[in-house]
Symmetry: C2
Subunit: 206 residues, 2 copies
């Protein structure tokens, strides 16, 4: 088992699980790295290398047990538990992410919402009341695992300053500025990046 | 110049441009691969390798001209022109992406919207009238470069069947199912993937 796992491998793990779920829906119980590579459009060797970081799982001549591999990856990713979430920013982007989480992500429970616009404060979104920044600042000290930032960069930066000393373990940032908080992992979601990559492909067809 | 450019490199190009813009905001006119690597948290060698795919640009002992590199990458990515966009799905996700594009992406012009819910048809969102599926199907034959799918997977799959024969060159898919259309590049945005990677990091602190 190799202990250093690169960001590229970690980013691929969710994709493995999506394909493993699809295989389970089709009642496929085991699969070789070659077959899995074909449906995922990567090489069998990449799959073996990626999974070897976590101990391998596959058996020569047998392949991977689909449900077993899915379950092991679930555990490795920490998706066999639930996480509480607080949202900073309840505009269109915030509401669409809230809706997405409630509809698609049973492991994540939204427990607090915050917005700085007076007309939003006190409103209820999918059962949770929107708090102002001051009361949210108190709320975020305990009982929130993941802070989701769906607010403009300026507000995101203000909030980032309040994170240390809280129980927050990770930040999922939809703002347009990358930011870092010591001791807390931040994943910056850049919608533009994928759109701009698409333009590259449009302009460089195979 | 190396002609094969991997997806990983293409995915990194928008990130280079974000940092180059930040440097320009700070009036920094040139930068070495070492300095750029430090602020981007990658190795100088990775930067040189990535940019060598497109001819290099840097000069030994001088580094990269910040504005010049930004402009060259803009051209390489095809972001020195504009693209028309049509949206399939005008719910919360659709509206937040529409809002995002109009507020942040001057190179992209939304020209058509579609939804299959009767209460949405005929409504105007940021100046564009929502069409039903039948009239949108006609509309999408010409004059749309990029189709944005912000609708449930079932609807996304229906629409995918109508793409061939149109002028659509790329699909930006926010649905939860990857899909492929022959001759058209599809970028699948998986919000869950980044969230699940975040959980991995939360459970494997450095």
């Amino acid at each position: 088992m190799n202990n250093y796992v690169s960001d590229a491998v970690i980013r691929r793990l969710p994709r493995y699980r999506r394909y493993l779920k699809k295989l389970q829906d089709q009642d496929i119980q085991r699969i070789s790295s070659k077959e899995l590579g074909e449906i995922m459009d990567v090489t069998a060797s990449q799959i073996r290398q990626d999974l070897n970081h976590f101990g391998g799982f596959g058996q020569q001549g047998y392949g991977y047990g689909v449900a077993e591999l899915d379950q092991k990856l679930e555990g490795i990713m920490g998706l066999d538990r639930t996480y509480t979430m607080g949202f900073v920013g309840c505009g269109k982007m915030g509401q669409s992410v809230i809706h997405f989480i409630n509809g698609n992500e049973p492991n994540f429970k939204i427990v607090a919402l915050c917005d700085n616009r007076p007309e939003m404060i006190g409103r209820e979104i999918e059962g949770i009341v929107v708090q102002d920044k001051e009361s949210f600042r108190q709320r975020m000290r305990t009982g929130i695992d993941i802070l989701v930032i769906t607010a403009p960069a300026r507000i995101a930066e203000e909030v980032a300053g309040d994170i240390s000393g809280t129980e927050i373990k990770g930040v999922w940032n939809f703002g347009h500025t990358d930011f870092n908080v010591k001791g807390v992992k931040v994943i910056n979601v850049h919608l533009s990046d994928s759109l701009h990559s698409l333009c590259y492909y449009i302009n460089h067809p195979d």
